[in-house]
């Protein structure tokens, strides 16, 4: 008898790693015992990694630290399959994130937008491998990839060190939608102008040099006592570019230490001071200044949360958007404002910034083309800046999953948490920001045909929500989705648990459907009409696999029922558990 067990690891269901492994209960009842042994080694030097943490889970579980040679050994474990999680500070898994996980995340903006604050240490990214322990089976070999680093010196026009300026690393990662720029570790120069960015997973990076950047700080009284030098740096991308697109890409090999020096003239810089209006006194407040054309903030901001006065120091000339956010805990409420600021050759004083508590957007859904209201529409609005202010709305109920062994659509995992506003069909308190919308429909054969905010199509790309009433969000679900099914084979034989990806050719980042079934049979329902590329994979393909992989293209017609045989390809990293 075979039993499937899904172990969910992690605090958040949205970020889970699903490990499906098969244990034979009958076999476990036998008392046969084996030795679980292995070696953890450095992928670049092939040397064993001492004191790495290896945990195993299966019919039994436990953990060991490797010895000086990178070896570990656990005697007397039932001879079965185990999932090993292997980690070590200074090393990352060589496994790329499976595209499947990318798809299940909330929608994301492609520009870098993460916080600039000094991040704490991140736990090392573990490698997860499956091992089948049998009597006399060879010991497992697990490789970890040593992290890379970037070091350098930042000097000014006189060759003097610049102290306390920030260098940010930005990873350029291939995603289904193209390249994602993801901010990574940040470093500050010391009194010698030296910065050191450590702990970077090997890959492609850009570097951004900004002046003194810090989190918003609070002050009391009428003025902040600062001895700022009124000098600043416009942001520069390594080596000397003024935009992300013109920057040089640094290719970091595993364990490599790359040097990247900057020589940059400082220029006169000015303070922006002003007053918030309509704010909540004593509430958490954050000020961010974005230079036009940039997704990462800059500047050092100070705010008095009693009086609403603020000051941002040492801003070089240029055009900016000042964004202020407030969060009141009890009752929970966000406020925000965006203000255009042009800095030329003098300080800006008495800037009045009115905060607003946001707008409400009613939501309506219409069902067309044979769709019925039997399903659930899940709406997620992800703000570009105030990430914690995500809005989620569910209309209708999730239908019972279709039974049967042949179709499991993993994308139909219901969200972990959902807001329950007083009015179930209104998105409330949307503060000014750039938003992205994700609409999922869980129902038989239906698909999301359009989403319009007023007259604007918001199903694809970013859209702004400002202070004025943007109108109603109207979603159209159509029931004339197509159905695709067929056999998946690998070298002529039915492929077990193949994943089938259906990628819209016009917008590869959006609405990828996938499904997999036992005995090599797949079925995908509710496919919107349009042009697609279709691929079948064994293992967990990465975004790169999917983008570079060939696949049959097809034009799907409304209501079509199509049968297609597919030949599966092996994903580039087949060690990732399915």
């Amino acid at each position: 008898m075979t039993q499937q067990e899904i172990v969910l690891i992690g605090r958040n269901m949205f970020r889970y790693v699903a490990i499906v492994f098969i244990t034979s209960i009958g076999f476990a009842q036998t008392s046969e015992k084996c030795v679980l042994a292995g070696t953890v080694f450095n992928s670049a030097t092939h040397a064993g990694i001492p004191h790495a943490l290896v945990s195993y889970v299966g019919f039994s579980g436990g953990y060991r630290f490797t010895d000086a040679g990178g070896n570990f050994q656990v005697a007397n474990v039932p001879c079965l399959q185990y999932a090993l999680t292997v980690s070590k500070a200074g090393f990352v898994s060589g496994q790329e994130e499976p595209a499947q996980q990318l798809l299940m995340r909330a929608p994301r903006n492609a520009e870098p937008e993460a916080e600039t604050s000094d991040q704490g240490p991140q736990p090392p990214h573990p490698a997860i491998v499956m091992v089948d322990v049998k009597s006399g089976s060879p010991s497992a070999r697990i490789s970890l990839v040593p992290v890379s680093s970037i070091v350098g010196t930042v000097l000014d026009e006189n060759g003097e060190p610049l102290e306390g300026v920030v260098v940010q690393s930005i990873a350029a990662k291939v995603s289904l939608a193209g390249i994602d720029y993801v901010p990574r570790n940040t470093a500050r120069t010391d009194d010698r102008g030296i910065y050191t960015i450590l702990g970077l997973a090997p890959g492609d990076y850009l570097l951004r040099l900004v002046g003194e950047v810090s989190d918003t700080r609070y002050f009391m009284g009428n003025t902040v006592n600062l001895s700022n030098d009124h000098r600043g740096l416009p942001p520069i991308y390594y080596p000397n570019a003024d935009s992300l697109s013109a920057a040089s890409v640094l290719h970091l090999a595993a364990g490599e230490r790359t040097t990247a020096d900057f020589k940059q003239a400082t220029e006169a810089a000015y303070d922006i001071s002003g007053q918030m209006t309509g704010f909540v006194a004593q509430a958490w407040t954050r000020l961010k200044l974005y230079r036009d054309g940039e997704g990462l903030p800059l500047g050092r901001a100070f705010v008095n949360i009693s009086s609403g006065q603020f000051r941002i120091v040492d801003v070089p000339h240029g055009n900016y958007t000042l964004r202020i956010e407030q969060y009141q805990a009890d009752p929970a409420k966000w406020l925000a404002a965006e203000e255009q600021v042009a800095v030329s050759s003098e300080p800006i004083r008495n800037l009045l910034v009115p905060l607003s508590a946001g707008v409400d957007i009613p939501v309506s859904v219409s069902y067309e083309g044979g769709a019925t209201e039997g399903g659930m529409v899940n709406i997620t609005l992800q703000p570009g800046h105030t990430r914690a202010n995500q809005r989620q709305l569910q209309l209708g109920r999730i239908p019972k999953l279709p039974q049967g062994p042949d179709v499991v659509d993993v994308s139909q995992v219901p969200p972990a948490e959902s807001a329950s506003p007083a009015n179930p069909s209104v998105l409330t308190g949307l503060i000014p920001d750039q938003y992205r919308l994700q609409v999922q429909f869980f129902g038989h054969g239906g698909y999301v045909a359009s989403a319009k905010l007023g007259d604007v199509d918001v199903l694809h790309g970013k859209f702004p929500v400002g202070e004025s009433m943007p109108g109603e969000l109207h979603i159209t679900i159509r029931g004339d989705g197509a159905e695709l099914e067929g056999q998946v084979t690998l070298s002529g034989r039915p492929a077990e648990f193949a994943q089938v990806y259906l990628i819209p050719t016009s917008d590869p980042g959006a609405q990828v459907k996938f499904g997999f079934g036992a005995e090599g049979h797949y079925k995908i329902v509710g496919v919107a009409p349009g042009d697609y590329k279709i691929q079948a994979w064994i293992g967990a393909p990465t975004a790169k696999d999917i983008l570079t992989g060939s696949g049959e293209t097809l034009s799907v017609q409304p209501g079509e029922h199509r049968s297609m045989a597919l030949e599966a390809k092996q994903a580039s990293d087949s060690s990732v558990p399915r």
Partner: protein, 580 residues
């Protein structure tokens, strides 16, 4: 010498003059303040040094320039008077002319017809650095370790150990604390093993497996209508096997060199511009969890809790967590030691807000604590005077400042009474403000008791204390000479005969014309001395005070006296001062 009433008067006069001559400024003769900035050790000129000059009484009238490649600077000062000259650049912390230490007094540049201000040599002290590596017993780096340096120094005449600075080690365990003043330091590191969170999670998994009666496939959120596996088989509980060699999941806070406390620690000495290398090995130790519940009046609300580790009377942030709506929180992986929990509600005011701070001792077993909001103390009393009192209590305040530098202020009423309510528990220093020519001397009760100017608020009761102010309207002006020449940068120290009069000590440093100014002096008997090297002298130490007094000029200061004195410089090295 800065900001004294006398020089303010001088300055206002100057300002009036400047305004009246505003249109003539271009043709008016200006005074040149120029010179060179050199490194204090190598005496090499320092280029690109940011130099600023400002009248000591008007810091906002600052002029700035950058030294030339030969280290030279030249300012034009419009009017005679005293000016503060400051420099800085990366590697050289901001410092004033002849500043002793990095935080002490400095000498003003005196500008006038009889002063040579064209040949100033500013010896800039390069900052010191302490750098090194924090590693574990396997010689592996402890990333993100928190490194704190404590300086053994003399502050206001007393030898103290003060927490000077903190830095985080990088992922490679390397740290660097730069721009430190020269001196003697203790270095301390604390950290968290990289595997701590993962192992704690595994230990929880082990606990949950061991507490389960039989195998339960419900680790999976299984479909209720799924084809349930009949639990008929007799199955053994799967064994969970932790690594038997693991010694712990937390690091013991450790001082250089491998000492558990500051008392056992080795002192690290750094001179101006030098760098000391310090490595610390953190041993692993077992740790426990600290669970807390907050019981606050009013509606419950969520918030944050920080755990601070107590190291030599300082509190260093160790862990932080969230407090749930029902008031409970939990810190995992806390090694034994002394800590303080500081928690506050998300809402910072209103009926659901709370603010708690409590010190705890963590030992070898899990701890549960119940925290209640601190009692808010009250204090009331009168302002009393040793001799004559001012004509009115207008603008007179009593200020309470606690260890966290929060100030609370009470206005003194027309009948000289004051009261303050809702003082959070803690230790406070009491000062008086707004009473010109008076200083706070001590706290007193009805029976003539004398308590120092500190308060310990620990209950909600109302304390009664009177604050004794003493008139301090006298001043001493003068110059310090040696071999008939005025001496620059000399420490002038005025010590009361009765060391219990802690409020009566006065200190200044001579300016470029050898002058000094001591103000707001209460009447009484004093010792007055001019010392060549004074920064590191613990003059409040009775043994040191005795030696200093023997070499001092003994003077009596009458109420509202304005004394003028010429002092001969005493070489500090010529005194046999006790070394600590």
């Amino acid at each position: 010498m800065t900001n004294t009433p006398a020089s303010k008067i001088v300055f206002f006069g100057v300002l009036t003059l400047a305004l009246s001559r505003g249109c003539l400024l271009q043709s008016a003769p200006a005074y040149e303040v120029s010179g060179i900035v050199v490194d204090s050790r190598s005496h090499a000129p320092l280029a690109n040094m940011l130099v600023s000059i400002a009248p000591t009484t008007a810091r906002d009238q600052k002029q700035e320039q950058v030294t030339k490649p030969d280290g030279r600077f030249a300012f034009s000062a419009g009017e005679p008077g005293k000016y503060s000259l400051r420099v800085r650049k990366p590697g050289y912390p901001a410092q004033a002319y002849r500043q002793t230490g990095f935080a002490g007094v400095s000498s003003a540049i005196v500008v006038g017809d009889d002063q040579d201000t064209r040949n100033i040599v500013f010896e800039a002290s390069r900052g010191c650095a302490i750098s090194g590596l924090i590693k574990d017993e396997n010689f592996e780096p402890v990333g993100n370790a928190l490194v704190s340096v404590f300086q053994s120094t003399v502050s206001a005449g007393e030898r103290k150990i003060i927490s000077r600075r903190q830095a985080r080690a990088n992922a490679a365990g390397e740290f660097r604390l730069a721009s430190l003043p020269p001196g003697n330091y203790y270095v301390c590191a604390m950290g968290r093993p990289w595997f701590a969170d993962q192992v704690i999670q595994l230990q929880r998994l082990q606990k949950s497996m061991e507490s389960r009666p039989s195998i339960d496939h419900g680790t999976v959120p299984s479909e209720p209508d799924a084809d349930d596996q009949p639990s008929t088989q007799e199955q053994q509980i799967p064994e969970y096997s932790p690594d038997p060699s693991l010694r712990g999941t937390s690091f013991v806070t450790t001082f250089y060199a491998n000492a558990p406390t500051l008392d056992d620690a080795a002192m690290v000495h750094v001179d101006a511009g030098s760098e000391a290398q310090v490595s610390i090995t953190l041993p692993l130790a077992k740790a426990v969890s600290v669970r807390g519940s907050i019981i606050a009046p009013g509606e419950p609300s969520d918030g944050r809790a920080n755990l601070y580790k107590k190291i030599s009377d300082s509190f260093m942030i160790f862990l932080h967590t969230w407090v749930s709506k029902n008031g409970s929180f939990r810190f995992d992986n806390v090694p034994a030691g002394s800590y303080a929990i500081a928690a506050s509600s998300q809402a910072s005011s209103g009926p659901s807000s709370w603010n708690i701070r409590q010190e705890i001792e963590v030992g070898g077993s899990d701890l549960e604590v119940t925290l209640r909001p601190q009692p808010m103390g009250s204090l009331s009393g009168h302002v009393v005077f040793e001799s004559e009192r001012p004509s009115s209590a207008a603008n007179l305040y009593v200020t309470f400042r606690n260890e966290r530098n929060n100030s609370y202020r009470a206005e003194v009423g027309p009948d000289w009474n004051f009261s303050i309510h809702r003082l959070p528990a803690g230790k406070y220093e009491v000062v008086a403000a707004g009473a010109k020519d008076y200083v706070a001397a001590y706290l007193t009760g009805g029976a003539g008791e004398r308590w120092p100017l500190t308060l310990d608020i620990s209950s909600a009761e109302t304390m009664r204390r009177d604050l004794m102010l003493t008139k301090a309207a006298s001043a001493i002006d003068g110059t310090v000479e040696h071999a008939g020449l005025p001496q620059v940068g000399v420490l002038v120290l005025l010590m009361p005969k009765d060391p219990a009069q802690r409020w009566a000590y006065r200190v200044d440093q001579t300016d470029t014309d050898g002058s000094f100014h001591l103000a707001t002096i209460p009447s009484g008997d004093y010792s007055l001395i001019a010392l060549s090297q004074g920064a590191e002298i613990a003059y409040r130490d009775p043994k040191v005070a005795a030696v200093l007094a023997a070499a001092s000029k003994q003077i009596h200061v009458d109420p509202s006296a304005q004394l003028d004195m010429k002092l001969e410089m005493v070489a500090a090295a010529s005194l046999s001062l006790p070394s600590r």
